[in-house]
């Protein structure tokens, strides 16, 4: 249904723009709501997205969920902050679109082979020994230690990524198990152990997915009240 392209999407805006453009839509809040489901599907399946950027994909997913829920329930009131986030996403996407388009032009220039070359500097000029004054071997050591301390550490992020990749599918099955045991829980309980915002979003996505698959039933008495989750009766 949404076989968009084979290349992986490096970032969320790239994916979102592709979805909008595939449907020949302009960048408006309503159209963002329209493609929100397709976007979430991509994330859910970890399909064609660069997983190391999952956090960035999820942050946009959260905004799309806001937009989508407003489109479905125009009566919903949003906080100023949420309003701003929604408005911002459309702006951000419009801005990204401009740069994506210009980068294609820049790419063409780069392969056009209309290159300027410079010459080797100071050709034919002999070096003159001119050591910096007042520097000793210990200064050199200090400079080198500073250099070493600034080498970026790749492993930190790697762990983060590995941690995140498992999330959604696992969360769904965790939730299912929890519900089978308890038959009922609420969203606040579900995210009580959440480490960060992303964690909450993933739980929320998992919940939506299960609603969609008709595994669970959700209920919210009043706006901003806790969401009750229960296994669908008769299953």
């Amino acid at each position: 249904m949404y076989q968009v392209k084979l290349d992986k999407f490096e970032g969320p805006l790239e994916l979102l723009l592709e979805l909008i453009e595939k449907e020949k839509l302009s960048i408006t809040e309503l159209n963002l709501a329209h493609v929100a489901d397709q976007y979430l599907e991509h994330i859910k399946d970890n399909k064609n997205i660069h997983l190391e950027n999952l956090a960035d994909f999820l942050s946009v997913a959260a905004k799309l969920i806001l937009i989508k829920s407003r489109a479905l329930l125009p009566i919903l009131k949003f906080s100023d902050e949420e309003e701003e986030e929604i408005e911002e996403l459309a702006h951000q996407l419009a801005e990204y679109k401009r740069f994506k388009e210009i980068s294609a032009k820049i790419g063409k220039l780069a392969i056009a082979q209309q290159v300027s070359y410079s010459k080797a500097p100071y050709q034919g000029i002999r070096s003159v020994f001119y050591p910096p004054e007042g520097i000793n071997a210990y200064d050199l050591k200090n400079y080198f230690q500073k250099v070493l301390s600034e080498i970026p550490v790749a492993s930190v992020l790697q762990e983060e990524i590995v941690g995140e990749i498992v999330t959604l599918e696992e969360r769904i099955s965790d939730l299912e198990i929890a519900l089978r045991n308890k038959l009922e829980t609420c969203f606040s309980e579900l995210v009580a152990q959440a480490k960060d915002k992303i964690d909450v979003i993933v739980s929320f996505l998992a919940m939506l997915e299960m609603v969609k698959q008709r595994i669970i039933h959700v209920e919210q008495k009043e706006l901003f009240h806790d969401i009750k989750l229960s296994m669908r009766s008769g299953e």
């Binding site: 911002e88 951000q92 032009k105 820049i106 220039l109 082979q113 410079s118 100071y122």
Partner: protein, 203 residues
């Protein structure tokens, strides 16, 4: 100093150096005022524009002498190396953002792309297509600028001549003040140097 003489001196200096030179340094070495040097450089650039083999490339107040890109096919033979290098989509986007919006922080670049760019930035810095300077306002964050090598690669003599410069140099008008700054935080909580995505995709 006689303007023609100064033009000759500046031409000699730019030739011998071969590297980008700051206007202020040119003025010092040529023993002239910056205004005089600027006039001499404009004069040179005009001369070169008449189908000469040389070019003056300018980024802000720094100047480099280079060859005319129209002759690239011949000069390329001599230089041999410059194997066709494919810049990835990510690299091209980052380069474009820096070219049109630089000087710019990593956070601002990431706000536009919506994704972490540290790996691409690092690769472009090493490749010399971007330059990085300390941010005076905030010493934890660097400011990124386009480099002479980038302009030379595109055969341009200044960023202002890039396509659609006038329109893209400006931000899209937003409802309120520029909001992106705020929302960036989620992406850039890590200090500048850490957070290197582990994938080894090349430029």
């Amino acid at each position: 100093m006689d303007p023609e003489k100064l033009k000759s001196i500046i031409e000699s200096i730019l030739f011998v150096s071969g590297e980008p030179l700051a206007l202020i340094k040119l003025a010092k070495v040529a023993d002239a005022t910056e205004a005089e040097v600027e006039a001499a450089i404009s004069g040179l650039a005009e001369d070169y524009a008449k189908g000469r083999g040389l070019r003056i490339i300018k980024i802000k107040d720094t100047i480099q002498m280079a060859s005319n890109p129209d002759n690239a096919e011949f000069v390329g033979e001599l230089v041999k190396s410059e194997i066709q290098e494919n810049l990835s989509q990510a690299a091209l986007e980052v380069l474009s953002i820096v070219a049109y919006r630089g000087p710019i922080t990593r956070a601002e670049i990431e706000a536009i792309r919506g994704v972490n760019c540290s790996f691409t930035l690092r690769a472009l810095l090493i490749r010399g297509l971007l330059d990085r300077t300390e941010n005076i306002k905030d010493n934890r964050r660097y400011l990124y600028n386009i480099s002479f090598d980038f302009l030379k690669k595109l055969g341009m003599d200044s960023v202002e001549k890039l396509p659609d410069w006038e329109t893209l140099n400006k931000k899209i008008e937003e409802g309120g003040a520029s909001a992106p700054e705020k929302q960036i935080e989620s992406i850039t909580e890590t200090p500048e140097n850490e957070k290197l995505p582990a994938n080894e995709e090349s430029l």
